[in-house]
Symmetry: C2
Subunit: 722 residues, 2 copies
Amino acid sequence: MLLLALVVPALLAPAHAVEGMWEPAQLPSLAGPLQTAGFPGDAAALARLDAAPLGAVVSISGCTASFVSTDGLLVTNHHCVVDDLQQAQKEGENLVATGFYAPTRADERSAGPGGRVYITEATVDVTDKVLGKVGGGKGRLSDLDLKARIDDATKKLVSGCEKASPGRRCRVASFYEGLRYSLITQVELRDVRVVMAPADSVGNYGDQIDNWHWPRHAGDFGFLRAYVGPDGKPADYAVDNVPYHPAHTLAVNAAGVDPGGFVMVAGYAGRTERWQTGLELERDATIGMPRRIARSEWLLDLYAQMVKEDPTAEPLLNVSRSYVSNRLFNDKGAVEGFRRAGVVDTATARDVALDAWVAADPARSAKYAAAIAELRTVVTRGDATRDRDEVLGWIGRADLLQASRTLLRLGKEREKPDAKREIGFQARDLPRIKASLVGMQKSLHIETERRFLRALLLEAAQLPPEQQSPELMAWLGASGGLGTPEARVDKAIARLFTDPAVDTVAEREALFGAKASTITASTDGFLSLAVALWPYDEARRQESKSDAGALARLRPLYADALRQMDPARSYPDANGTLRVTFGTVQGYDGRDGVRYLPQTRIEGIVEKAGPPPFDAPPALLAAIRDGKRGPYADAKLGSVPVDFLSDLDITGGNSGSPTIDAKGALVGLAFDGNYEGIASDWLFDAKNARTIHVDVRYVLYYLDAVANADALLKELGVSPTW
Amino acid sequence: MLLLALVVPALLAPAHAVEGMWEPAQLPSLAGPLQTAGFPGDAAALARLDAAPLGAVVSISGCTASFVSTDGLLVTNHHCVVDDLQQAQKEGENLVATGFYAPTRADERSAGPGGRVYITEATVDVTDKVLGKVGGGKGRLSDLDLKARIDDATKKLVSGCEKASPGRRCRVASFYEGLRYSLITQVELRDVRVVMAPADSVGNYGDQIDNWHWPRHAGDFGFLRAYVGPDGKPADYAVDNVPYHPAHTLAVNAAGVDPGGFVMVAGYAGRTERWQTGLELERDATIGMPRRIARSEWLLDLYAQMVKEDPTAEPLLNVSRSYVSNRLFNDKGAVEGFRRAGVVDTATARDVALDAWVAADPARSAKYAAAIAELRTVVTRGDATRDRDEVLGWIGRADLLQASRTLLRLGKEREKPDAKREIGFQARDLPRIKASLVGMQKSLHIETERRFLRALLLEAAQLPPEQQSPELMAWLGASGGLGTPEARVDKAIARLFTDPAVDTVAEREALFGAKASTITASTDGFLSLAVALWPYDEARRQESKSDAGALARLRPLYADALRQMDPARSYPDANGTLRVTFGTVQGYDGRDGVRYLPQTRIEGIVEKAGPPPFDAPPALLAAIRDGKRGPYADAKLGSVPVDFLSDLDITGGNSGSPTIDAKGALVGLAFDGNYEGIASDWLFDAKNARTIHVDVRYVLYYLDAVANADALLKELGVSPTW
């Protein structure tokens, strides 16, 4: 941080803020900072994966959760169980809107075939096995071969690991841009059930208006339960399955945590980009984000139009819409955050300083200079075909085309022995792929798909010749004939949507095991489009492998040089592995003229109440207005706290992560960051970036005063008051 | 306030907040509260109109200003000189966008023929003269006759006053809903020139995004100068005119005021509705505001569409757009404010309490009961024809129709002796009317007018039969023939816009003195529409006079009863007369989880800087970034303050009012209220309502560091630093 502090003094951290998404193994070396922040315990014990608290923290799809009872009860965010609720609901139900509570085990409902819980068991350094003699330096292999070498080694490590440990899922993750590779073993539970979720108007109170903002009053929590077969082993959903008994659980501290108090969050932080070059950040800020913003705005308009025309589309498009609108807000916030924090300038200055540091010493120069220079050319390689690849990339997001491509690729990969198949298409991946092909139906809206593709195919057809894909144009010619682009695209769309071969679950299931030749022979629009695009897809995959090989060769050198120049850069980018961030509960002075207090109160829910997204349930409003407070009130605050702020360092994937106090007990759930901190994925701003948590006291208050979830409260170790 | 406090304890005022827009004459009785708030001086001296500070405070169209030099220099808000800037600009200029500064008198530019400055000289109670023997009680006259009596007496008082005092403008204002009438004499200056205004991106920094919000960083100030003839008397604009020498001026306190410090605002508060019945507030909240919101949103869409199609429309529609969007925001805020503060419930409870109070005593009952009951029926009289009158009211807002109706009415009124003419159409009103007919051109955009009228005429044509205006339908039939409503309206629109007789300044000027018969004989679309609507207009005027008579008879009794029940209701509604409000500089806890600090800093301008409306001028940003602070910094704040908050009680019309410190010096300008206080026009919320001021230190800083307005600074008694 020394250099950063020099460049942007405004970003200097206040007393307790500790930037960093730490690997558990790093915690023992952080005993000092942990103590300063208010953690009195043993940092070495804290680092253990085979003990609470970290042993209780699990990954669920895209989110984090934690075990809070020995009967496999998990707590996470409401927004992490929205998908599960949709999978769990019956005809005519809208569980996202109404909320759900299963008073008994028998009432709990399956989160569908895609539900997963991953429990990290072990992390082992496998750098040597992945890179072999090539090392992180200039390889003797071509970039394509280097990539193949890494992929082969990865696959071998993963399959070896999974064979050795049944019911486990293994993965190789790269740390510090490929300076280190680790093999991670996780128990994989496949029967996940929904226990409780408040109504969307509680869990997502304020929705897009409050999203990313403080003050916040969302009850963003939900409960799941992991089940296993009667033999105690991971199993697919079955009525006779029994609750999983986790080895480690978090105790609930019903007294919560006060402002100034120590908090840590442990969770599966998804992805940050703090080791990117200035050049990449600049391109992200000036090209990537603005283009994505325009696409997202277009998509949201399309969704809104569709729901206006056909209200039944609403539940189908719900999830995509909230995903896109979150993405849009994120991108807009990032653009603004980049501007406000001068992220590009800072990163560029860092690169200038790095070049000078490298040049200052012949040995360094010999080791790093060429690699850093080459890295800067690699990241601009796609420029010439950017427009083409962008449009084709978006076309590929259409559900039915995605399904068709997946089916074709499955057929092609199946022709090889399992070990030779591409990562993600091996035998071990098949159940997950099948589940996603089935689950797709819950969000499939044909008319949306049609308009989406019509607009994008038209855009592709109107690209300048040098940006066009011959593969797509040939298919368009065959499907749409000659004529104006509009006429051709309309004919092609008619072909695609005349009784598509992949628009029902049964059809996709039937094609799931199909040979490539079966698909190649089909005259169906979508399948034929997938077949037509196969050469394009293959070429892109080769290019991308070659780029990946180059980056695997160059990025570690860049990272290594940066770490040497600035030893304070001591944690790797988020990569979906378990990380720990710690600090204190605190507000911030985010904008001139405003002070953001560290906690909100239930009275604030009443203050905001009104039309959606502030349509809090009458029962909640009545409880608050009637003065129900019980043991959940914070004496200093004078009321029940709803959400609180901390200076922790989280990112996407951390959603649902337990917020843990100095004694290792659960005091809240991380669910969002603040607007001022959006750019922290690229450059952490200790002064302004804040994590937003739901306070465990609000969770308990809601369960007790509103949901009357007595059984659940008791399982959490809390005696109901009402 | 006792009753209110009982009903809504949350609205109890903190230490210094003093609700009230006090008449100057009331100040001596407020010596105690003034002292508590921090005013050490003589309250009786403060009340004088013929001394500073109040003698320096003047009314300009819709705003307030104050004399700050003996050479007639006036300071007010930027948003109060926008119209003046448009009038002053030459072909190709956009002074609102660029700002303006006249370093010498010769550079100052006329604010156009409509520019006015009104200096209040005297206020005399004329209740007896207005009401005669009728008194405030149950009159022996019919409502129409009572209204005529009041109007006649008013006209007589006004013309007598104006004859007795040349160069004066007199008016009779009603206080406490007609319990008292006062005759107000004002010097009327007619040559007003623009001296300085910052760019819109400073004066209106944040525009609609920041409007009504805190934190705020607008430099909402501008300078005018009043001129008189060489003989020292009010005169129309002439090159040879000389600066007016006001008898009283405000000194500028370049040190500003600190949080907690005493401040008062003196200004021409426009209109509040704090004496309305609960029934009226309920109808406003459930009918009036929602309908106005829908119309405003439609209008803004129309303006946006027009500017998109024709960018040259932008400067023409600028003022209307900002007016409508301010109105929209105000209405939305009021709806929310009503809901949050429970305004309707509170007012309804007050009326219930009043009924009980009246019923509890036979004498009171005899005096008030019937009047209060009748008042409740009068306010619902327009219900049956509400839709018709609303649509016709909006149709009447079209500039060309408005001009045509005005010309026709002028012709009709001119047939009567001056004293018998309607108020507003007498000889004394002619120059102002003419100026507005001329000035209209600067905001006239024909295509907008066309679409506006097309939509509204269509709406009128599609009303249910019982809501239709036979007069309008007859004209539509004559102009549009038979056929579908669309076809008829299209033909009528074609008639209106085929070479209209009133779409140029020359045409309107030519018709200004025309006899009614000339206009009645015209076949022009707009003139014929005005003629066709004449009977409708006359009938509405009669109805409205009869209602006004009834209200003049009933409202004073309602107000009298309320005042007796609650003696703390000791100030009348704002009515465009000079009022004083006092309190202290202070922030507020407006929303759960947020504290609004009392001041903003220039660094906050840089924080917000970006695309419009945050496109602060580079010179300003550079000055801030370069660390220019000079003597304008607030030591405790550590920077130059931009805007500040106080607990004062203002409303529309107070814009531009001087903010005066305990020594009577200028420390800022009031320019807005906060969002939480929007409903204060109906029910003052001392806890949350705040006035937003621009700090005089920011005004001086800008003049010095950015505008280099040395001559102006010197005239304000400040030595330039740079």
